[in-house]
Amino acid sequence: MPRNLIIAYIATWAIHIGYLLIVSSGFRKLAKELCELRSRKEK
C-alpha cells in the first residue's frame, strides 16, 4: 500500500478525533462554569 495512502487515511482520522477532543473539552469547560455559577449563586 502506498505511503501517502496510509498517511491520508490516518491524517483524516487524526483531524476528526482531534476535533472530537476539542468538542468534549468544551463540554467539560461548560460544566465547570455552570458549577462555579451555581456555587456563586448559593453564596
Binding site: P2, Y9, A11, V23, K41
Partner: protein, 226 residues
C-alpha cells in the same frame, strides 16, 4: 448522553467501518494511478459533506437574521466548524494524492484555489465568532459574513466545469465523458453515506454544546442584572 445519540453513534461507526472496507478492500484498483487512487474514497465524500455543512450554515444564517432565533445561530456555528474540519481533510488528502500522480503537492488552479479560499472564509467566520468584542452583535455580523462567504461554495463546485483545471474533471454529473466503474461508485456512495452520517453526529453534538453556552450566557446576564 441520550440513548438515541448512542444508538446513532454506533450506527455511524458500523457505516464508517463498512465504508473503509469498501474503499481499501472491495473497490477495484484503478489501472492508471494504482492503489493511491483509493484516497478518492475519503477525499470526495469529505468535500461533499463540507459543501452540505456550508449550505446548512448559509440557511441557518439567513434564518437567524430573519427571526433572531438562537437555535439557528447554534446550528450556524456547529455547521461552520464541522464544515471547516471536513474542508481541512480535503486540503490534506488532496496534496497527498497529487504528489505521486501529478508530481507536485499543489498548484494554483481554479478548483484548488477556490477550495483554499473557501477554507479561509470559514476560518475567518470562526475567528470573528471567537474574538469579536461586540458580544450581542457578533451573531448578526457572523450571519452576514456567512451569507456573503457562501458565494464561494458554488464557485468551488462549478470550477471544474467552468474552467480547464489540473484537478480531474467531475466523475458524477460531469457530462457525456464522465463516469465511474460501478464497484468504485458503490464504494464512493457508501463512504459518502458514512461521512454524512458522521458529520450529522458531530454537528448534533456541537449544537448541544453551543446551546449550553447560550444558556450559560443568559444565566450570567440575569445574575449580573440581579
Amino acid at each position: 448522553m441520550k440513548p438515541v445519540f448512542i444508538i446513532y453513534a454506533l450506527f455511524t461507526l458500523v457505516l464508517l467501518s463498512y465504508g473503509l472496507n469498501q474503499a481499501l478492500v472491495v473497490a477495484p484498483t484503478e489501472q492508471t494511478m494504482g492503489e493511491i487512487q483509493r484516497i478518492f474514497y475519503y477525499h470526495v465524500p469529505s468535500a461533499w459533506v463540507a459543501f452540505l455543512c456550508f449550505f446548512a450554515n448559509f440557511g441557518a444564517s439567513i434564518w437567524y437574521l430573519a427571526t433572531k432565533c438562537e437555535k439557528s445561530d447554534a446550528v450556524a456555528v456547529a455547521t461552520a466548524e464541522v464544515g471547516v474540519v471536513f474542508n481541512t481533510v480535503v486540503l490534506v488528502t488532496g496534496p497527498l494524492w497529487a504528489k505521486p500522480v501529478w508530481g507536485i503537492w499543489w498548484t494554483w488552479d481554479a478548483r484548488l484555489t477556490s477550495t483554499f479560499i473557501m477554507w479561509l472564509i470559514y476560518i475567518s467566520y470562526l475567528l470573528l465568532r471567537k474574538f469579536s468584542t461586540a458580544n450581542e452583535q457578533t451573531p448578526k455580523l457572523a450571519a452576514a459574513l456567512a451569507i456573503f462567504g457562501f458565494v464561494d461554495v458554488p464557485i468551488v463546485y462549478m470550477s471544474i466545469r467552468w474552467w480547464r483545471t489540473q484537478h480531474p474533471s467531475p466523475v458524477i454529473g460531469g457530462g457525456e465523458n464522465s463516469g465511474l466503474d460501478p464497484h468504485m461508485l458503490h464504494a464512493l456512495l457508501w463512504n459518502f453515506a458514512a461521512f454524512a452520517a458522521y458529520g450529522l453526529l458531530v454537528v448534533w453534538r456541537r449544537y448541544q454544546l453551543e446551546r449550553g453556552r447560550q444558556q450559560l450566557n443568559i444565566l450570567y446576564r440575569t445574575q449580573g442584572a440581579a
